[in-house]
């Protein structure tokens, strides 16, 4: 089934959805209720960005919108704001995929880091504009930094385990379309 291009696309999307749902699932597990000093990175955001930068076809915007809205609802965040910002971020990245494909990994990392920082800042800005209680600044910045630091790691994992890599220049799919 995964031999036809449509099947491959479908399988890739299913895998993307499965990975995001697994991340939600793991974060919800009631292992301990202790507040931790070092917040973990935002794995959902990193995974999404890796997929969008490397194989945008596997991560269509409607999947991102639905799953991030679900995460907003489950994680007690203001519903819709983070999801909306992520969709905007991934769409701007998607427009640049053609350029990102030819970048060295460092430059790609930089582009994504700028995206993460701006989306975090805009999120905080909007929260303060509509007078919502904010999460403390320190841990938020730490989480943002961790998210950026984890990007190459997730790229490696996605490449080695899930086979999500940049298409080589001139690579074509089975029907001869350029990827």
């Amino acid at each position: 089934m995964a031999d036809t291009p449509a099947g491959k696309l479908f399988a890739g999307r299913c895998m993307f959805v499965a990975i995001l749902l697994t991340i939600i699932f793991v974060q919800l597990m009631p292992l301990d209720a202790l507040p931790r000093r070092w917040p973990w990175p935002d794995f959902m955001l990193v995974a999404t960005l890796v997929w969008v930068a490397r194989r945008p076809g596997f991560a269509p915007f409607w999947i991102i919108a639905v799953i991030f809205l679900l995460a907003d609802l489950l994680f007690q965040r203001p519903p819709g704001l983070w999801a909306g910002l992520i969709v905007i971020l991934t769409e701007t990245l998607r427009k640049r995929t053609a350029n990102i494909r030819n970048m060295p990994i460092g430059l790609e990392w930089g582009t994504v880091a700028v995206g993460i920082i701006s989306v975090t800042l805009i999120y905080r800005l909007v929260m303060s504009v509509v007078l919502l209680p904010q999460t403390p600044l320190g841990p938020t910045l730490i989480q943002m930094g961790m998210t950026i630091l984890f990007y190459p790691l997730v790229v490696a994992v996605a490449h080695l385990i899930f086979g999500v890599s940049r298409p080589a220049p001139g690579q074509v799919d089975n029907l001869g379309h350029r990827l």
């Binding site: 597990m29 292992l31 209720a33 202790l34 931790r36 609802l73 965040r77 819709g80 509509v130």
Partner: protein
């Protein structure tokens, strides 16, 4: 993306329109939530009510395995643990004797005073299904809800101390905001000095004590119990002990074991009886009207 297809000119704008629509929808949801929060929160609870119980079949074994591994690590020090437990048991026996004597004495004194204890605090026990999933919010989801008669604002305890309060009730699930959450504020009394204060969660394990009138009367080790001020929260539930933090602030070492929240008791707190009548004047009976005229 079909970049080099002829259909590109056709798909591009439609797709852009769709993306714009979805973003508009998401941000619109946020604005509606900001304007009319209760309705959207009810929607959120309905979604959680639907989604999370379907997770639980997978969540239970995974959590079990992880707990097993962490338990196994503790089994490695089994011999040392056994010694510790034996020593503790010795001490406990002495305590038990003391407790029995105190209980008898207490019963005698209560009998002398003709005190009737308050039978109001009964409870519903729920199982913790998930935690909040975010490092910035401290709450747990319980598997009891409206179906079991849970009401917003009821306190949740583990076997020993207060854990949090119910905030958000779905049909089958309810959310308990822990005392460590940044939005948690509980009125407390510090015994034995009787000082009133507010326990304000700040996302650390030991929440600070705020609005204390006279900090000199409070020493580390004093007991912290809820005061019931404001009439929202029932009084006299054990919270923890006062401790002095590294930053020289008075904090609370919580009695509840936050490392293993598994079962929580949700207390059926009765609402306070309010006194509406300002109290009549106690006076001799007034003379009637016709006597005044005459």
């Amino acid at each position: 993306m079909a970049r080099h297809d002829n259909s590109d000119d056709f798909i591009g704008p439609v797709r852009r329109l769709l993306v714009g629509f979805v973003v508009f929808l998401l941000l619109g949801t946020f604005l509606i939530w900001r304007i009319d929060s209760p309705r959207v929160e009810r929607f959120r609870l309905a979604v959680i009510d639907r989604v999370v119980p379907s997770f639980s079949w997978a969540m239970a074994p995974v959590t079990g395995v992880v707990d097993l591994v962490s338990d196994f690590q503790s089994y490695q020090q089994l011999a040392a643990q056994n010694d510790d437990l034996r020593r503790e048991l010795q001490q406990m026996k002495a305590w038990k004797e003391a407790a029995l004597q105190l209980e008898q004495e207490n019963a005698r004194l209560l009998d002398l005073n003709k005190v009737s204890l308050d039978p109001k605090l009964t409870y519903v026990t729920g199982v913790v299904m998930t935690d909040s999933g975010s490092p910035f919010r401290q709450s747990v989801l319980l598997n009891v809800g409206k179906r079991d008669g849970i009401i917003d604002g009821w306190p949740a305890m583990d076997g020993i101390g207060l854990v949090g309060r119910i905030s958000g009730v779905g049909q089958n699930t309810s959310r308990a905001i822990l005392l460590t959450d940044t939005s948690s504020r509980i009125p407390v009394t510090i015994q034995p000095s009787g000082q009133k204060a507010i326990l304000a969660g700040d996302n650390t394990l030991n929440p600070p004590i705020e609005f204390l009138e006279n900090a000199d009367l409070v020493r580390p080790g004093d007991r912290v119990i809820t005061s019931g001020d404001g009439g929202v929260f029932p009084p006299d539930l054990l919270v923890g002990q006062v401790a002095l933090g590294k930053d020289r602030r008075l904090r609370t070492r919580l009695s509840a074991d936050y490392g293993r929240l598994e079962f929580l008791r949700v207390l059926r707190a009765q609402p306070h009886e309010d006194i509406f009548d300002p109290g009549g004047l106690l006076a001799p009976e007034l003379p009637t009207q016709d006597q005044d005229d005459g």
